[in-house]
């Protein structure tokens, strides 16, 4: 109908850049916090699990708990934070949405992209720190995990599309989503290894997409192996499909956002 109703690369880039500036670069320490905050969380978890619970990773291949946790923790943080931030992106940009005609799906997508990009910088920094502290990382496999991270980004995009459009109508999403994400975090083998689970639970765990992401990242970066699995194939089909469904869902409502903001 109108040129502005389509995806617009220049505008999208502006949105992402603006988001990054707003979230991370506005205050001088913003960028430092980006790395400090997960580092602090990581050390809390590391302390609680290695010192108090004496958790051991049966299949860590001798890398120790902290690197085992860190490899999975950053991508999870990127994922969960981008979903949480993006879910409110329509309501947060009400002024823009109700005044200017543009493809509003760019808002959650830009928020996810900006958050993801920044956390990936943090991820790289952490990997370097780990390597300096003596963890043997398979750097070559870093290239191989890029598509895996892209897939994770896509998954975040899909969920953000569902959540942000629904939140316009059901404001409760803002309250429901954070505990749900916490639940998902503990239901994913991030703090622990799937190997310690009883068989009945492990079967259920395989339906959690995060299990595949976390497992693939670990085996690639720590173990130096990247095999094709059925689960990987399913993800390769399912995640893009979910994005398409998310877009469809979003566009069903996007023309009516203005009525409900």
């Amino acid at each position: 109908m109108q040129r502005n109703a389509r995806f617009d690369p220049v505008f999208f880039r502006n949105l992402v850049a603006r988001q990054i500036r707003q979230d991370y670069l506005e205050n001088i320490t913003g960028f430092a916090w980006l790395i400090l905050q997960p580092l602090m969380l990581l050390s809390v978890y590391a302390f609680v699990f290695t010192q108090i619970f004496r958790a051991r990773i049966p299949d860590d291949g001798g890398v120790g708990f902290v690197p085992y946790l860190a490899i999975a923790f950053w991508p999870w943080t990127a994922f969960s934070e981008s979903v949480l931030r993006a879910s409110g992106s329509i309501t947060a940009n009400a002024a823009l949405v109700s005044k200017v005609a543009f493809a509003t799906e760019q808002l959650p997508l830009a928020t996810v992209t900006a958050t993801f990009l920044m956390h990936m910088i943090g991820y790289l920094a952490v990997l370097v720190v780990l390597a300096l502290m003596g963890t043997e990382l398979h750097w070559l496999f870093l290239l191989a995990v890029v598509p895996v991270l892209v897939l994770l980004w896509l998954l975040a995009c899909a969920i953000a599309l569902f959540a942000s459009s629904t939140q316009v109508f059901l404001r409760d999403i803002a309250q429901i989503l954070p505990p749900l994400m916490t639940f998902w975090f503990f239901m994913s083998p991030i703090l622990y290894s799937p190997a310690i689970l009883p068989d009945s639970l492990a079967g259920v765990m395989n339906w959690n997409p995060m299990t595949w992401f976390v497992g693939t990242l670990r085996s690639a970066l720590l173990g130096g192996e990247l095999g094709f699995s059925l689960a990987g194939l399913v993800m390769l089909v399912a995640v893009p499909l979910l994005v398409v469904l998310g877009l469809k869902w979003f566009r069903r409502f996007s023309g009516h956002f203005e009525d409900f903001l």
Partner: protein, 403 residues
Amino acid sequence: MRPLAQLQGVGKVYPRVHHPRERLRAFGSLLAGKPPREGAHVLSDIDLEVRQGESLGIIGENGAGKSTLLKILTGVIRPTTGTVSLAARTAALLELGAGFQPDFSGLDNIRMKASLLGIGRRELEARLDDILSFADIGEYIYEPVKHYSSGMVVRLGFAVVAASDPELLITDEVLAVGDESFQKKCVRWIDRFLDGGGTLLLVSHSMYLVNKLCRNAMWLHDGRVRACGESHAVTQEYLAWHESRDQEESRSRDRVSGDNGHYRVETLTLGQNGDRPLEGVLDKSVHELPVGDDLVAELVLRSPDGRTPVGMFGIVRADETAVYGVSSERAPTAAEALGDGLFRYRIRFPELALLPGRYRVRGHALDPEGLRVCDTAECELRVTGQSHELGMVRLQHQWQPED
């Protein structure tokens, strides 16, 4: 000339969203693919066509649906019924707030707005100086927009829009915010824009601007098109309606003294020579007349039974001192029947003798017998100019001895 924008049978219903349950229901019906049809009917049955080079003013009271119409036109919201087609290559909407994000600096917002208007990054670099000098807000450009005055926001918005070289310019009541010199700048720009073949859609409460900038005007009333046509005619009709409504309000106070209101004043309008409107520059409800000019007053009366009511004109000073009154009973001409029970009286006061000051011109509807006043309407009149005489009226006089 191809139509740049076209609306056909457009209607808009704002669903009720106050209660969470209502939101949930709306959510459900949207999910099922049915837009909610219950709620506030903001617009109904709007047909509109804007052709290239045209200038259309949209007028109407607050809440008449003007802004909603523009939002539908620009694609910000989807109409509930009807179709919209926008063929303009570039259409720029300029309104209060301009879609700026309050937390970001003016410069950031320029970038944002420019990319929304389809200005590329390199193009923007080239035009940035023009934009900044047009906006003329100095160092404020680096401050967050939330620290701007409303005038500065509009300056910035207009500057970006002007730089985007739109094919269709849509402005929603923005010119009223800027100061005098910026308003003039904008009006000059729009004039040049129109001369260059640009197309304008202007929402404004200033009939002066609508008349000045727009060839045609559309009057929206309660979400429907009440009148559409040549802008002078439409704005006149609109103003007359406003006046009669104001009187309606004041009359409803006066009329407590029983039912004597069979014959009503429909409109009372004041004009000058050649029916030039006497709209005041500052306050639209006060008519202005240079001292010594002709005054033409027109009174349209409604008769419920088809009999011709008697019309009466009167002038009082602002403090209610009666100056002059005249009834149609002894008039050499009869009322002009307009059909539908309407009758028109016109009176002309050549070289009106009132001295500068504030007056009220009243029109009365009397029963056909001329026995009682059934209805009254009044217009405020300010006679402008300078005079060294005292009193209300300039009387014919000659100083003696004559030379």
